[in-house]
């Protein structure tokens, strides 16, 4: 029997098999440091960081080795103590090679920490400075510099901070484990964000398939009457910002606008904890928490690893991959990136490494569109995916623009659903890039 059921949600969406049972009951394990870490200078949205070290330099774990370049950028800390081997272009999980600092790790677990701050007396500016120093980026996938999001700007009217505990992507259990193992700290993290932004209202959105986490959060939040735990329908993509705001505040973020425009700031559970760790423990963001799962990995795990650990090391630590493994994905199965090179490192925003098999992928031969309308029914944004995909195939980008292709958030529900197995979102992605380029050109002309 379900302990919690909810009716709060959004229009559309799908119910993929969850596969959470593979890892949901496994506590976090701390993986031993690798012999070498690869730290890309871009692990976030924004300008690449500027390296402060050179080949041969000795570095300590927690030491800043690259500084933020401009406002939308973050510093990077060495995740291990050791020696800078070189600065070179290395493959990253995005599939693109990026300039990276490579460090040979020494045998040491020491980390350089800042002095701890008292969460009850800390000033908003201190929180922002600390988060900026810690190089924290959003853990929800986009890796946006967090201090930008928790620094109030003039002319902003933020009414609520929402912590995203939906974890609507199948397989991933990282946020779930956080909510169970570090319940109090999640709430304190949320309070720090609220304090930094001067916001009086906090919500934690969580899907009704996580009764144990809901229970714990509700107990922990009971002492604060301005923090609500909102139980939501289990449905993908419930954790998308727009869908989450719709479900909790019943507000719609207009096309091309941000959550800020409807008075909301969304933060991931992992981000809230990173903020807590930075403020209360003085830790920079040098670890990543991730779920290693899928039927293609021998031992699924929830792991804490040092940022920069190569995927290969993580896979090896989890017993290696099975014979029938067919795909390795960084992130969730619905929006994650397939990998072709296991030397790519875990970055600050990595939430999972999934090793999938053919059975899970469940791919079939593509046929012609049967005009069943299922893609329209499931699209949470109200688009007509089959039409957009067709426009993209035919290079009809003006038509695609008129049918709002740029609003697509690429959640993949359409492709997931399509009985004809048409790669709808993949075509839309292509068309969207072309339309955006077209719009840019028009603006500059």
């Amino acid at each position: 029997m379900k302990l919690f059921t909810s009716t709060k949600t959004f229009q559309g969406g799908v119910h993929p098999a969850e596969y959470k049972e593979l890892s949901e009951n496994l506590s976090f394990e701390i993986m031993p440091n690798p012999k070498q870490v690869i730290l890309p200078l871009v692990q976030h949205i924004g300008k690449p960081s500027n390296p402060l070290v050179k080949k041969g330099d000795d570095v300590k774990a927690g030491q800043i080795i690259a500084e933020a370049d401009g406002f939308i950028s973050v510093p990077i800390h060495s995740s291990v103590s050791g020696k800078v081997k070189k600065i070179s272009t290395e493959i990253t999980p995005s599939g693109f090679p990026k300039d990276s600092i490579i460090i040979d790790a020494a045998d040491s677990n020491e980390i350089e920490l800042k002095e701890p701050l008292n969460p009850e007396t800390v000033a908003p500016e201190e929180i922002q400075q600390r988060v900026k120093w810690a190089g924290i980026v959003g853990q929800g996938g986009a890796a946006f510099p967090t201090f930008v999001k928790i620094t109030p700007q003039p002319n902003q009217n933020i009414e609520a901070v929402i912590l995203n505990g939906c974890e609507c992507e199948p397989y991933l259990t990282r946020d779930y484990r956080f909510m169970i193992e570090r319940t109090e700290e999640v709430i304190e993290g949320l309070r720090l964000i609220m304090k930094s932004l001067g916001v009086g209202r906090g919500y934690i959105g969580i899907e009704d398939n996580k009764p144990e986490a809901i229970k714990k959060l509700k107990e922990a939040a009971a002492k604060y009457d301005n923090i609500n735990v909102e139980v939501l329908v289990t449905k993908y993509p419930q954790g998308a910002e727009k869908m989450l705001i719709k479900a909790i505040l019943n507000r719609e973020v207009p096309p091309g606008k941000l959550p800020l425009d409807v008075g909301a700031v969304i933060q991931n559970i992992g981000t809230a904890l990173a903020i807590y760790d930075a403020v209360v423990k003085g830790e920079p963001q040098i670890t990543a928490a991730l779920t290693v799962s899928g039927y293609g990995i021998k031992e699924p795990k929830n792991l804490i690893v040092r940022v920069g650990t190569p995927i290969a090391n993580v896979i090896e630590y989890c017993g290696g991959i099975t014979e029938d493994a067919s795909k390795v994905v960084i992130g969730g199965p619905m929006m994650g990136v397939a990998q072709f090179d296991f030397s790519a490192p875990v970055t600050k925003a990595t939430s999972g490494i999934l090793i999938l098999t053919k059975t899970e992928e469940n791919l079939h031969e593509e046929t012609t569109c049967l005009r069943c309308g299922k893609c329209i029914e499931v699209c949470p944004i109200g688009l007509i995916p089959t039409k957009l995909s067709r426009f993209s195939q035919l290079d009809r980008f003006e038509d695609a623009e008129a049918y709002n292709i740029t609003v697509c958030m690429e959640c993949g529900t359409c492709t997931f659903t399509c009985p004809a197995n048409i790669p709808l979102v993949q075509w839309i992605r292509l068309g969207k890039q072309r339309v955006l380029a077209m719009q840019k050109e028009r603006k500059s002309a």
Binding site: V328, A338, E360, E361, H364, T367
Partner: protein
């Protein structure tokens, strides 16, 4: 895709852009679910009209699949008969023919259904009109007498005793058939259309399986009740009550298996409602004021023509957009 890392073995992996999972849906499976859902109607046909109907079904399917294969070959395209759609067209056509129908005519109907109904537009996914209904409309025009010769149920000798359908009985003789009889199916009518219960079992199965969107049949039922009800309230003697409309003729079969055809019905949710209501409006007009007793086929074909227009004007509201 093959990849190597410094101290790891060689893996054979796929590269593709997300999403990396797919739902249980695929074309073939959906088509076979429809075939499965039609089995109760097939069984009812055998019970009420005898085993000969299986022969009609076999001929209709055989020629439908054969025609599709030949045309695909001629057009140098991949033969796609395993997708099951040709089988569905043949089966649907057979089930809406009169019992003990001529086998040669059946074959002609199948060839027309696939040839003119589907392949001429480019094959599955591109046709405008429901192929099975195109086949039946052709037969209706070409062979009007055999197409309206209704064998009495439970009488299996070919061409023996004919009977009226509930609709023609009402229209031409003002005789109302008992609703309970119509529910079971012991009445005159097309091979697979007489048993409401068999059709409902199959249709509800498709709705719960997620193949058929409930909106089209629901809109048709609501439409028939409203439009049929208006006339019945005006004159309960001259016009049949709405329940009669729902259980007579090909209404249920049309609502659950014909109007819900993915390809020829609207893609938008709002469009589905408009489509269903439109069918019922046209249907009631034909049934009450037209020269024919039955109008489900023409009503659906008529509304099929409007589907592109309906799709165009029922675009869903984009999230966050204020209209």
């Amino acid at each position: 895709m093959t990849t190597t890392t410094t101290d790891n073995p060689v893996y054979k992996l796929e590269l593709a852009s997300s999403p990396h999972l797919h739902s249980r849906w695929n074309t073939k499976q959906a088509m076979w679910l429809v075939v499965l859902a039609l089995l109760p109607a097939v069984i009812s046909a055998v019970i009420f009209f005898g085993f000969y109907q299986l022969l009609i079904i076999a001929v209709a399917i055989g020629f439908a699949v054969g025609t599709e294969a030949v045309i695909k070959k001629i057009r140098n395209q991949k033969v796609t008969i395993t997708d099951g759609s040709g089988i569905i067209t043949g089966l649907l056509l057979a089930l809406i023919l009169p019992p003990n129908f001529n086998l040669a005519f059946t074959a002609i109907g199948s060839v027309v259904a696939i040839g003119l109904g589907k392949e001429i537009f480019g094959g599955l996914g591109y046709n405008i009109f429901n192929p099975a209904l195109v086949g039946r409309a052709f037969l209706q025009a070409a062979f009007p007498v055999p197409m309206t010769t209704w064998t009495k149920p439970n009488f299996t000798e070919v061409d023996s005793i004919t009977t009226a359908t509930p609709l023609s009985a009402f229209k031409f003789d003002s005789v109302a058939t008992e609703l309970s009889t119509m529910f079971i199916g012991n009445i005159g009518g097309s091979i697979g259309e007489t048993s409401a219960i068999a059709i409902l079992i199959g249709g509800l199965f498709l709705i719960f399986a997620g193949v058929v969107n409930y909106r089209v049949p629901a809109a048709m039922v609501i439409g028939a009740v409203i439009f049929g009800g208006i006339f019945w309230l005006i004159d309960p003697i001259a016009y049949p009550n709405p329940l009669f409309h729902l259980s007579a003729g090909g209404f249920l079969f049309g609502a659950l298996f014909m109007a819900t055809d993915w390809v020829t019905s609207p893609m938008t949710l709002k469009g589905m409602w408009i489509f269903g209501l439109g069918i019922s409006l046209v249907l009631i007009i034909i049934r009450l004021f037209g020269g024919l007793p039955e109008g489900v086929m023409y009503a659906i074909l008529f509304m099929n023509a409007f589907v592109p227009l309906i799709n165009r004007y029922t675009r869903p509201r984009v999230f966050g957009e204020v209209k």
